[in-house]
């Protein structure tokens, strides 16, 4: 703290703290001026200030801090020395500004796109969920129908792996994709790894979606509470002392109760989802940090089909499902020096699925211990090395009585005509282990070339199989704002348990493979977080082999192949208060096998266009809108059918697979945000209207009983949602 003045008679001393308005965050190292005395004071690291004795009379406090509105306050110094207390709250002038993560791009995976949670939450149509905002990125296929997965660059939904802080989780979304499983306030950013990602991740031919949890700040207690038409919840973060903190957040949905009241015929258990997250963080020493994240999630649904009628006779009676998981992720980070860091974590938990379908059932209990360890070493100024391991041990207990599910071209044989299998399996422990060696090499100190060679080994013990996957990325920094990147390699993925189960599938299955190749350019013209533009353009190609397909002779086999190629682009233009984002992908995804010549893959979406625009208005208003155009969903139209007179149902006879494309998906969403900033808390309100045009986008096809007629299944109608959120 420093000050200066000319000699006059003394009066009061002012002692106070400078805060960010709307929270109780203090403003350290900020400058205040007292006029007309021309006294300058600076707050300390805790935002505290103290003036010298001031002359009696009126004066004005003035602060002009970057990123904040100009602050002025009249005051008066009285005669007789005394200490007067003051608290000033200064408002940020960028409450809605996107906070993109500014990291050195040379030091990250060339296939990585990272979205800050704040940026992602503000996107219209995402319903404040950052993971749903990822679906606006180029190369991410729209999930048709009522799916709850992320499809990456023409691959299959199951080819995408989801993780929290690098530890795999079984699902990313709650029921029907309404919300992701991690409360957004505990997520700092989302990593999206596409074609050509490096060796430190594996077992996913499509890509990886990783949520990074926040680092707790041991400064002050803070929290939030929200309510909208789907769910409500809250979170609080409490510092235990100056080096450890704890935070907890919970969400409970009630959308199901609304649906149950509206849909009088059918629902017996309202579809609901709940989740709980707890984070504990301890900066044990300057070089040693412990973080423990715990997450639990549960989804429930139940209904009764009173009369199968045109449907499969098996789909009759009561249906109920309860799905959930919990995980504890302890993570230790040890920074030995500026050139060496160790990160080790575990993922310990349980998964469960209880499904009842009439007299059939599927019950799963699974215990899992996942692990991940990474050692980063800067061997010299040109070479950074990462070696590590990731894997899991899993024990599963499964009981089921289910008909076999046989589908070709998206047309499913009636379950009444397939075999019912019953099993009770207490499985032997399954162990998957991955070892990787990843590098970042610069050719010289000032070289524009950076190479990222890597090697990964995966051992799939449950199918007695292993793979060695080389990876390579090359970055050429043409100018400080323009980079060219190429990346590629081999990626492998084990079959899902139901396919290699001895009771239900083919235990002789092996892993599937994909070769990736991508070439792209990134141009960043950002002048600040609120001004500038950026352009991304690239091509990708994937070649798939040994894909798992249905095979009447062995139930499942590795006889499938495919390829996906695409051209993806994104353009961002920010000129405060306006912001425009555009993403366009042109792609083709094809499959084939011994019984089928090349055919369009089920999730082939030749064109994906997303345009998002927003404007920040005075008094903390914001309007944003999203327009999406996606090529129509593919479907297979049977060329005939035959009545199975023993099972009282028609079986489709398929022709060419996926030869029919439905009308395109077109949707316009609108969002209005308003924030009221008070001294120590803020109140936000949003109105999000999805499908404001109320277009009946076709999501799929429903067939008549003999497959000679069909009708499209419409997607969501116009869907307005309203939400309120308070933060302190």
């Amino acid at each position: 703290m420093c000050f200066f003045y000319e000699g006059v008679s003394f009066a009061s001393i002012f002692d106070g703290t400078l805060y960010v308005k709307g929270s109780r965050d203090t403003l350290p190292n900020a400058t205040l001026y007292l006029l007309p005395q021309k006294i300058k004071i600076t707050t300390d690291e805790k935002g505290h200030f103290s003036t010298p004795p001031l002359p009696e009379g009126d004066f004005k406090w003035v602060a002009n801090i970057s990123g904040f509105n100009k602050f002025e306050r009249q005051d008066h110094s009285v005669a007789g020395e005394e200490i007067l207390q003051r608290k000033f709250f200064i408002q940020q002038n960028a409450d809605f500004v996107y906070e993109t993560t500014i990291t050195s791009k040379e030091n990250q995976d060339t296939a990585l796109t990272q979205l800050s949670t704040k940026e992602a939450q503000g996107m219209p149509g995402a319903g404040l969920d950052p993971v749903k905002a990822v679906q606006n990125l180029p190369g991410i296929n729209r999930t048709p129908g009522f799916g709850s997965q992320v499809i990456i660059q023409g691959s299959a939904p199951q080819d995408t792996k989801y993780s929290i802080d690098g530890q795999e989780i079984p699902i990313i979304f709650h029921f029907a994709g309404l919300s992701s499983v991690l409360i957004p306030e505990f997520s700092s950013s989302i990593d999206y790894l596409a074609a050509g990602y490096q060796a430190n991740y594996g077992r996913a031919m499509g890509g990886v979606i990783n949520l990074n949890t926040i680092d707790l700040e041991s400064k002050r207690t803070k929290g939030m509470a929200f309510v909208d038409i789907f769910n409500s919840g809250g979170a609080v973060e409490v510092p235990l002392d100056d080096h450890q903190s704890i935070a907890a957040g919970v969400r409970a949905s009630y959308v199901g109760e609304v649906l149950k009241a509206v849909i009088k015929n059918g629902l017996t258990v309202a579809p609901n989802f709940d989740d709980l997250t707890v984070i504990y963080q301890n900066q044990i020493r300057n070089d040693l940090k412990l973080k423990i994240v715990s997450i639990g999630s549960i989804d429930t649904l139940g209904f009764v089909i009173n009369d199968a009628g045109n449907s499969d006779p098996v789909i009759n009676g009561s249906f109920s499902e309860k799905t959930g998981f919990f995980r504890i992720f302890p993570e230790l980070t040890w920074t030995q020096s500026q050139a060496s860091k160790t990160t080790a974590s575990l993922g310990i938990g349980r998964d469960f699925v209880n499904t009842q379908i009439g007299s059939d059932y599927f019950n799963l209990r699974s215990s899992v211990i996942g692990y991940r360890a990474d050692q980063e070493v800067h061997l010299n100024s040109l070479w950074k090395l990462n070696v590590g391991a990731d894997g899991s041990f899993r024990w599963s207990d499964v009981q089921f009585q289910l008909p076999e599910f046989i589908s070709q071209g998206g047309v499913t044989d009636p379950l009444a005509t397939t075999q019912t299998k019953t099993a009770s399996i207490l499985g032997a422990p399954e162990h998957i282990v991955g070892l990787y060696w990843s590098n970042q090499l610069k050719l010289s100190e000032n070289s524009p070339w950076t190479l990222y060679p890597g090697l990964r080994f995966d051992d799939y013990t449950m199918i007695h199989d292993a793979s060695l996957s080389p990876r390579l990325s090359i970055r050429y920094q043409y100018t400080p704002t323009l980079a060219f990147i190429t990346a590629g390699g081999l990626y492998t993925e084990p079959p899902e348990p139901q396919y290699y189960s001895p009771s239900y599938g083919n235990p002789n299955l092996k892993h599937s493979t994909a070769y990736h190749l991508t070439i792209k350019a990134e141009k960043d013209l950002s002048e600040s977080v609120s001004k500038g533009s950026s352009l991304y353009s690239g091509v990708f190609a994937r070649w798939f082999n040994h894909l798992v397909i249905s095979d009447p002779t062995v139930i499942w086999s590795n006889g499938g192949s495919g390829r996906a190629i695409g051209f993806e682009n994104s353009f961002t233009y920010k000129f405060s208060p306006w912001s425009i984002y555009l993403a366009y992908t042109l792609s083709r995804s094809i499959r084939w096998d011994a019984n089928h010549a090349e055919y369009l893959y089920q999730y082939d979406q030749p064109q994906l266009l997303t345009i998002i625009g927003s404007v920040d208005l005075p008094r903390n208003w914001k309007i944003s809108s999203r327009f999406r155009y996606v090529s129509g969903t593919l479907s297979t139209i049977p060329v005939g059918s035959a009545l199975d007179t023993d099972h009282d149902v028609y079986i489709p006879i398929n022709g060419a697979l996926y030869q029919n494309r439905l009308d395109p998906f077109i949707m316009l969403d609108l969002r209005l945000d308003k924030k009221w900033v008070y001294d120590v808390w803020t109140l936000s309100m949003y109105i999000d209207i999805q499908n404001i045009l109320n277009r009946q986008n076709p999501e799929g096809i429903q067939f008549g009983y003999n497959y000679q007629t069909n009708q499209t299944i419409p997607g969501i109608p116009i869907l307005p949602t309203v939400g309120l959120k308070g933060e302190f």
């Binding site: 799916g147 089909i305 009369d307 045109n310 379908i357 249905s550 035959a642 398929n654 009708q711 419409p714």
Partner: protein, 318 residues
Amino acid sequence: MDHLKTLLFVALLSQVGCTSKSLPEYRVLQSLRVISLHIDSPEINYDGTTFTPSTLSLTPLISDLYGSGRSLSYSLQWCLDPGISLGATPQCTGNPTLTQVATGQTVSTTATFASPNYTGYLSSISVNLSAASTTAFSLISEKFLNSSLPEQYDGLALILVFNVYVTGSPSIGDTAFKRVVFSTTAKTKNANPTGLVVQDGTGTTISDLVNGAGYLAYLPTTAAETYSWMDSLGNLSSLTETLVSTWFLTGPEDPTCANDTSCTTDGLFGATRTNYGSYNYFTAPNTIPTNRGRVLVVVTRDNRGGNTSARYVFGTGP
């Protein structure tokens, strides 16, 4: 599980009215279609070379309500089950065990399949399994003898594929298939349920569907059979058949007609399928058709390949 959940979700949407009702109803007889195929012996003996009995009688039950008596033809063939329960196409085309029984045969009117309703039983078709080719016999024998003992005991299947179509327009028609299980001689063979009678709530055989609503029940004279099933380890267990009935009714079926006296309809059932012993609620029509009768057909299956049916006509015609 994701695929299964999607199937169920679509079924729920359909039930709660989130999809339009433009698809035809399974239980309503309108277009040319096969309702059922009845075989006198749904399960037969096989010793590795010879079927006993080797001659079967197949009786199709079909409907062509709005066909105005047009000329129909049929074909019939049989073969070894290609693995339909594992996803194989339900047809005999290209199957080396294919045996043709009839091709392009004219459908003749019968006592029940006649003007003006054209909904009833066709003349029975004789199927001589001994007429198969040497190659077919050899392949069937090889398949059976290479099967495990439990599979031989529980039985493999032949499929009889019946196709009925408008004469000269084979694309207008319907195809159905019926399994004939062949199993080791040690096993007691499955028989069709018999004596299906549809009664109203007072225990009286139904006589007409026009006057008021009422409960309809069914009561087969032969109750569900108890049978033996051998698991993959060779252990025998005793199981009981599950009898399920499907209710078919001619004519348009419009739920809104229940309160609209100007509608012409044959009536409305509460359920398409009922279990043994359960009632099916019927809503009588307000206005009945005058140019034809109304035909009720109930088919009861034992879920092991056996079936029986009952047919009732009210109003005009056989």
